[in-house]
Symmetry: C2
Subunit: 224 residues, 2 copies
């Protein structure tokens, strides 16, 4: 993944990060800080993938990252802080949902991405979800990440409305949750083996229901 | 709950449960064993509701139950064993899914039960789900419980087929997962506040999709 490298400096000041000898002091703002963050978060992912939450300790992350443990404790506080920052960093990207030209196609492609993430080896995503049941900080960050992802996916529904595939007042979030929830339910909670048909089947179910007006707002009028 | 097995009286000493003096030796088979199990599992639920998984210890359960700790360790082994037995006991009932006269009504009533369980105080059900991410024994038992519940719910789909609400070859499990998954997803994973419309809305979505043939077998023919 990213450079690790040893932890040479043990500068006296507690603020020192002690990672690599900077060629110049006061480089571009955030350069060294960002590099250390990358090293540490990569180490968290490595430890989590190999040992799961139970094997994740501040000292193991510090050792694996090559960043001085004082720095790791000072900046991230505890394992929950590390996990929260991993999740925040994961959301700090330019990911966009698939654009296949149809609602069902977009949802199926999205579900394929979700199923791939939930069945990847090492099981980073499922380990992070499991960790969110152990740490409030991780839970809050996981929630932020998911809400951000669902917000980004609303464009799928907007495009479908513009293509006249859906009624204008379609509740995007409900539709997206209906399309994706069966994957999380089967793979994370029920722990059933991955079903290669499920991403497309769940997408088709949600698209059929949406076309039939299941997600048309306002819910108070359309739901019993 | 149900009686378990004999293996009751091994008095005295390490096997002694030290709970209450049995009025007679060798009562009906399993009476004392079943009573001890009830006391211990009730204590697990009490501790879990008050302190969550992190506060759950063998010793606290023994103290709360009034059963000798030696017995608790001998019979349940560890916290995972206690949780697994709580989950197994929860499935050992005569629960049947609601029968309202319509597919959508049955699914909505089922979802109301699920939402009530997932939002109850103390949060026993969510604590057990969280615990299933910490203990393989609990995870296996949680999986058994859910699979049993989904199997019992298949009668909802069977009744709907007999009422000609659904095509005969409807995949009951997929339909049931589609109907219920959004509740688990929102309340357990996304941790959104309970939405009073969600049980009915998710039921309606699944019923609309089912009526449109979304769950008609075989999936290989009906899915892309």
């Amino acid at each position: 993944m990213t450079p690790t490298d040893p932890a040479p400096d043990r500068d006296p000041a507690p603020e020192s990060d002690g990672t690599r000898p900077p060629t110049t002091r006061r480089r571009r703002p955030g350069g060294r800080t960002a590099r250390i963050r990358t090293q540490v978060l990569d180490a968290v992912l490595g430890e989590l993938g190999e040992h799961g939450y139970d094997g994740l300790t501040m000292d193991a992350v510090a050792a694996r990252s090559g960043v001085h443990r004082t720095t790791v404790y000072r900046r991230w506080g505890d394992v929950g802080g590390l996990l929260a920052d991993v999740l925040d960093a994961a959301g700090d990207d330019d990911w966009e949902p698939p654009d296949t030209g149809s609602l069902e196609g977009d949802l199926a492609a999205l579900n394929q991405e979700i199923q791939a993430a939930l069945t990847a080896e090492p099981p980073i995503v499922t380990a992070l979800i499991a960790a969110s049941f152990r740490s409030e900080k991780a839970a809050d960050a996981q929630q932020r990440l998911w809400e951000d992802r669902y917000a980004r996916c609303e464009i799928i529904v907007g495009r479908a409305v513009r293509r006249d595939e859906l009624p204008p007042r379609t509740d995007a979030r409900r539709l997206l949750v209906a399309a994706t929830a069966p994957l999380y339910h089967e793979l994370v909670l029920l722990r059933t083996p991955p079903d290669p048909h499920l991403p497309a089947c769940a997408a088709r179910t949600a698209a059929l229901a949406a076309t039939a007006g299941a997600f048309t707002e306002p819910p108070s009028a359309s739901d019993r």
